[in-house]
Symmetry: C2
Subunit: 530 residues, 2 copies
């Protein structure tokens, strides 16, 4: 069953190798455990619902607990402590477009706030209710999870907006197709959520971001229905698809979405190359993408992430041999690990390999083949389980991410890491931080930073540490040429920083659109715009 | 010097081969000549300007004639006849962002309507003034034509928005780069115009549409400045770039634009393949793009276009030999000509050729190599000159285009061609119509139809024929799954049909954005929205 206070299904968990404890102790000090609340304790604190009865709505306390928080670190601390500030007054599970229309009518009639809910995987507070004078209803789209139509000629699939990643791929696989959208939240996040938050998947280099995959669909709003027709491309004025992408539930409820799918590729493989330095590894990425070499995925860990991953991998002896070999080939302390994917026909993969081999040589890369690549592939959706594993040892882990142009990558990464590492100096606490680049474009790439610190003596104090670090990271990013988010959206946590990149007039435009669709601010208030 | 009443520079013209006359006579009857007006005659009819004096503004009559019309067929008839319904009251040539701001201030103070003007190549009425109680000022961006900055690391070039195609490419070429955006209007159209009208170039298959090339920039509006930052990608809410793309001058004036450029490719070649039928040729295209074979351009002429092009090419004896050879290889009456481009490193081109060769065989294609491809390449921007050549023989030619999903391509093409051919039945006139597909996407492609009919006995009657045909084409397209435009925008001519694809709510959203930026409807009124 899905965990109520952590990631994923409770039949799956991740154990840290023994060596991890020593590594973390050296890096940030001994972990400190904090007491967990139980679901029953939290459910008993849920206040009475303020919602008028409706056949589609449940006000069950457990359901309301399970829809109160997403997967950000503050969400996690709230769920672990049981100290949850606000619950939705109820949850409904629409089964079709008409149900969504009925709920909109109900919300308008009863002055209710609505929160559209996909997989509840937001790490930026998208689906958290804010305390309000009005009753709050969460629309869980989980029952709209079917492949409704597949046009094999045009390679367009129509899905219910609540279809989660595994059900998207399983239903397409049965017909010989794939969407190819694999965010790390894939196990739980939904196709509608990907569109509403402008998501990007690990293989965006081949399949594109959700912006490229989303072809059209239906949005139900207080102002009426918006049906966006599918065209392969159009110059007929502003693109309405773009209104839905990144709308974060502020304009309406996505009900059915049409996406561009691909035939299953003949072959796919992931491999790992080590480079002596970050400089060489990142230049390799830039050249590969600017030379349009057909790859499906590229990711480079910087030296600290590489070292951390090798330490946390277990298999100490095997890793020692690997490092001895790499050292002999010129990859020492500053070495960086690059994982890349090739997907396509055998002929296409062999052509890409040929083009890559010259580049690998040029930047002194050491290709270790597919062994570590297979390891990455089998663990590609496991990282979110790491938070629980670290929590059991008394540590918290969080991530943030951005994207910037190639000319700014090194400078932004250095500033962000340096600021975050010094972020708890006043508390005399260490922060262990490391970064990878992924999602490469000819213009630049995303930067994804992970940081670990140990729990403070209380939930409150731990939360204050996080708030400090989150502000430092966000502020450093937006004032140094990065976007506040490359793949996680704005939600409530990033909303205070959005104006820096959108500008005053840009923010006004977005606000005017929100007012156009939702004059009474009933749809997901506080998200996207403060 | 640039022609005032036709396409391009008057040192360039196109002659039809002798065989063309007979072909046209058979197809639609003998041509009928109509008398041309002179520039002096038209200039003498320009009314007094209603504009208050300003140092940046000229009210010279010839300038006002030269900015009164674009390049649509009604524009052409108006210029040829000299019967021009409306002239701008003046023209100004801003040299920098501050000049644009000054003109906006002036326009607000004096209640003047503004029309942003790039190359004046619109075929949909974008830059035509509509008769108004208010004075009308055309902003010609021609003096903002410089490459202002090139970030070679991030491959981003900043241009003045008025830079025309040849100056974009020449300034980049000097640095070893290309934008790769080659619409047929390339000789005259500008980078700002491409963005404002969501243009697509002949090699969009490699370089992308202008949506993919446009990275950010500055828009000056009555509501303030909008500076769109460059990020390789972002999930931070609605994408403001999308507000500028397709805005058609309704929101503000683009002054400086940042675009994604590429290093010049090592090699480029164009080749021609013939297929026995449309079915085989179009399936080949669909397969090539859905299999992600790296091509830079694909275009298939249907059987009538293929036949027409071979007839109008001259070189009768050579063509006869070609057709004899093709017939021997199985390509007879229904044969279709496909032109494709390969661009990249030698290695990449050779890999693509290998992947293509199997597909060519599968669909019974006959590869005639690069001879006809070179011919296409050298004439790639010459087609707009054809209108003058036909006019001299007493015929008018026009085109329209759309895009649709693969599942709808054959049906839409058949309906459009059939309706347009019968369009002048009441006048007992023939219409010769033919189509090519180009700009292929995994989801579908664009369809580009050319039609020729002979002049009626007067300008007025000729114009009425065109209006009838334009309505038939537009109406058939939007009610049968096509977009009103794949690459030419909405302007004034397509505005009446836009609501079919955008829907009622979609139209309201676009209108609300227009009002947000331009409460008094002073910016390019009548364009995009009726």
């Amino acid at each position: 069953m899905r965990r109520w206070n952590g990631w994923g299904d409770d039949s799956t968990s991740m154990a840290l190798p023994e060596s991890a404890g020593e590594f973390l102790n050296n890096a940030v000090g001994a972990g400190q455990l904090l007491p967990d609340a139980t679901l029953a304790e939290v459910a008993s604190k849920v206040p009475e619902s303020r919602l008028a009865a409706h056949k589609l709505i449940t006000t069950d306390a457990t359901e309301r607990v399970r829809h109160a928080k997403g997967q950000s670190l503050p969400d996690y601390l709230a769920m672990r402590s049981g100290d949850i500030d606000c619950f939705p007054d109820g949850v409904c599970y629409p089964e079709n477009r008409q149900d969504v229309k009925d709920i909109l009518t109900y919300a308008k009639a009863h002055n209710v706030e609505l929160i559209p809910y996909g997989g509840g995987t937001s790490v930026a507070g998208h689906i958290n209710p804010n305390a309000s004078q009005r009753a709050i209803l969460t629309l869980d789209m989980a029952r709209m999870n079917q492949l409704m139509h597949l046009d094999e000629d045009s390679q367009i699939a129509t899905f219910g907006a609540g279809t989660p990643g595994p059900m998207v791929e399983a239903q397409l696989l049965a017909r010989g197709y794939t969407l190819g959208h694999f965010p790390q939240s894939f196990e739980l996040s939904t196709i509608g959520g990907w569109i509403a938050s402008r998501s990007s998947g690990q293989q965006s280099l081949r399949y594109g971001r959700i912006e490229q995959l989303f072809a059209g669909g239906n949005l139900e709003t207080f102002a009426g229905s918006l049906d966006v027709a599918t065209f392969p491309a159009s110059s007929a004025g502003p693109d309405l698809r773009e209104l839905l992408l990144g709308s974060e539930g502020r304009f309406g409820i996505l009900t059915e979405v049409k996406v561009r799918v691909s035939k299953l590729a003949e072959k796919e493989q992931f491999s790992v190359i080590f480079f002596p330095s970050w400089q060489q590894a990142s230049q390799f990425c830039k050249e590969a993408v600017q030379q349009r070499i057909a790859l499906s995925m590229l990711r480079v860990s910087n030296a600290v992430e590489t070292q951390t991953q090798l330490k946390l991998a277990g298999h100490e002896k095997a890793i020692a041999w690997l490092e001895r070999y790499l050292s002999w080939r010129g990859c020492n302390a500053g070495k960086c690990m690059l994982t890349f994917g090739l997907t396509g026909s055998k002929e296409q993969i062999s052509a890409s390999k040929k083009q890559l081999s010259r580049l690998i040589k040029q930047f002194n890369g050491v290709n270790t083949g597919q062994l570590l690549g297979k390891k990455w592939q089998s663990n590609r959706f496991r990282s979110p389980y790491l938070r629980d594993a670290l929590w059991q040892q008394g540590y918290v882990v969080d991530t943030f991410e951005t994207a910037t142009d190639w000319g700014n990558v090194d400078s932004l990464m250095a500033k962000v890491e340096s600021n975050i590492r010094q972020g708890l100096a006043a508390e005399s606490e260490q922060v262990h931080a490391f970064t990878h680049l992924s999602h490469v474009y000819s213009q630049g790439c995303s930067l994804y930073t992970t940081y670990v610190f140990r729990n403070a003596s209380s939930y409150q104090a731990t939360m204050e540490c996080w708030q400090k670090l989150k502000h430092i990271a966000s502020d450093t990013i937006v004032h140094n040429g990065g976007t506040i988010s490359h793949q996680h959206g704005v939600g409530k946590d990033h909303a205070p920083y959005l104006h820096v990149e959108k500008g005053e007039l840009g923010m006004k435009v977005i606000a005017s659109l929100t007012e156009h669709f939702d004059a009474d601010n009933q749809l997901n208030p506080g998200t996207l715009l403060e």
